[in-house]
Structure formats: structure tokens, C-alpha cells
């Protein structure tokens, strides 16, 4: 079993809809949770960085962490065709020593 599980998709939504992405994990020591966006053949771009449980909002993006369920989510409001990309979750803990554990990524397609 992988430490971080993420549905690969593709997830297709119409423009303007809310995109809902999630990851589950098995290591209860994880405390830092990240979401990255990766366009085809490009490097990942950091979208959200959160510590421990709770919600964080930044513009159209909301990240949620539920450590009791070992479950994290990313919501994208008012989705645009430019949001079409692969979204990667990543996480680490006090004993990770620089080694972020990444999910496999979810491909999102926003159709006009």
C-alpha cells in the first residue's frame, strides 16, 4: 500500500464548476500538507502549504486537512480552462528529512 493515495482521474468538469480533489494517507506522523499544480511537461507549482489540521483559503483555492481521518482536500472555485492540469498532493512529517511523499496526481480537465 502506498503512503499517499490519490485518484489519477481524469476529472472532467464544466467551466465555472467547483473542482474537488482529495488524498488519503497512512502515516499519522505527517504534519505538513501541500498541493501542487503541474502543467504538461512542466515543473510542479506550489499552490497551498498547510500545517496540521484545519482549512486554508487563498483566492479561488481552499485546502482542508482532517488528520483524524488522514484525508486532505483541495477545492477550486469558479474553475477555468486554464485550471486544466495535474494536481499533486504532497506531505511530510518531523522525520521526513526533506523527503516529501507525493500522490500520483489527479488530472483535471475544465471544459469551456
Amino acid at each position: 500500500q502506498k503512503e499517499v493515495e490519490q485518484d489519477p482521474g481524469p476529472l472532467s468538469v464544466p467551466e465555472g464548476a467547483i473542482v474537488s480533489l482529495n488524498c488519503t494517507y497512512s502515516n499519522s506522523a505527517f504534519q505538513y500538507f501541500m498541493w501542487y499544480r503541474q502543467y504538461s511537461r512542466k515543473g510542479p507549482e506550489l499552490l497551498m502549504y498547510t500545517y496540521s489540521s484545519g482549512n486554508k483559503e487563498d483566492g479561488r483555492f481552499t485546502a482542508q486537512v482532517d488528520k483524524s481521518s488522514k484525508y486532505i482536500s483541495l477545492f477550486i472555485r469558479d474553475s477555468q480552462p486554464s485550471d486544466s492540469a495535474t494536481y499533486l498532493c504532497a506531505m511530510s512529517g518531523p522525520d521526513s528529512w526533506g523527503k516529501f511523499q507525493f500522490g500520483a496526481g489527479t488530472q483535471v480537465v475544465v471544459t469551456p
Partner: protein
């Protein structure tokens, strides 16, 4: 502010050769990380350097090695290339620290193709 830069963009080698990939971190960042992103396998952690020292390495054979220079730039060397080394190699940098949990910012990657 300039982001993480990597060179070359593409690299084509034959099996058994050596490859050298280079990375310049964001100005002010002291930590550099290397990841391999092979098709269908996701990002796999390779190495972490901070202040010129190797802090951690992933589950890769010793033919994957690297170093960090006094200006915090880094290079990744892959010896005795194998076909399965073909992948996108990503470098990331962070502000550094002893835990390695700071946000990591990625470069565009070097696509290595082994023939």
C-alpha cells in the same frame, strides 16, 4: 524574483554513459532537492542537500549522486545509465532548515532520455 533554473532542458544519452544535470536555487534558498518523475510512477525523492551537505537520500542505487556548491547550486550525476533512468528530473529549493519540511519550489525539470 527568479525561480529555480535547471539545465539542460533535454538530455539524450546512451545506455552506460554518464549524465550530469544542474540546478540553481531561488536566491536566498540554501536547500536543494532532487526528484525523479518517471512516466506512471509519480515523483520519487532522490536527494536533499543543505548548506553543502547531503542530508538525506531516497531509495536509489549509489550510481545516483550529486553535490551542492558553495553558491548553493547543485548537480546530479547519474552513472552507468540504464533505460529505466529515462524520466523528468526535477530540482526544488527551499529556505532551508534542519527539518526539511519547508515549502519546496520546483524548477522546470530536465528530461533525460536513455537510448
Amino acid at each position: 524574483e527568479a525561480g529555480v533554473t535547471q539545465s539542460p532542458t533535454h538530455l539524450i544519452k546512451t545506455r552506460g554513459q554518464q549524465a550530469t544535470l544542474r540546478c540553481s536555487p531561488i536566491s536566498g534558498h540554501t536547500s536543494v532537492y532532487w526528484y525523479q518523475q518517471a512516466l506512471g510512477l509519480g515523483l520519487q525523492f532522490l536527494l536533499w542537500y543543505d548548506e553543502g551537505e547531503e542530508r538525506n537520500r531516497g531509495n536509489f542505487p549509489p550510481r545516483f549522486s550529486g553535490r551542492q556548491f558553495p553558491n548553493y547550486s547543485s548537480e546530479l550525476n547519474v552513472n552507468a545509465l540504464e533505460l529505466e533512468d529515462s524520466a523528468l528530473y526535477l530540482c526544488a529549493s527551499s529556505a532551508g532548515g534542519t527539518s526539511g519540511n519547508e515549502p519546496q519550489f520546483f524548477g522546470p525539470g530536465t528530461r533525460l532520455t536513455v537510448l
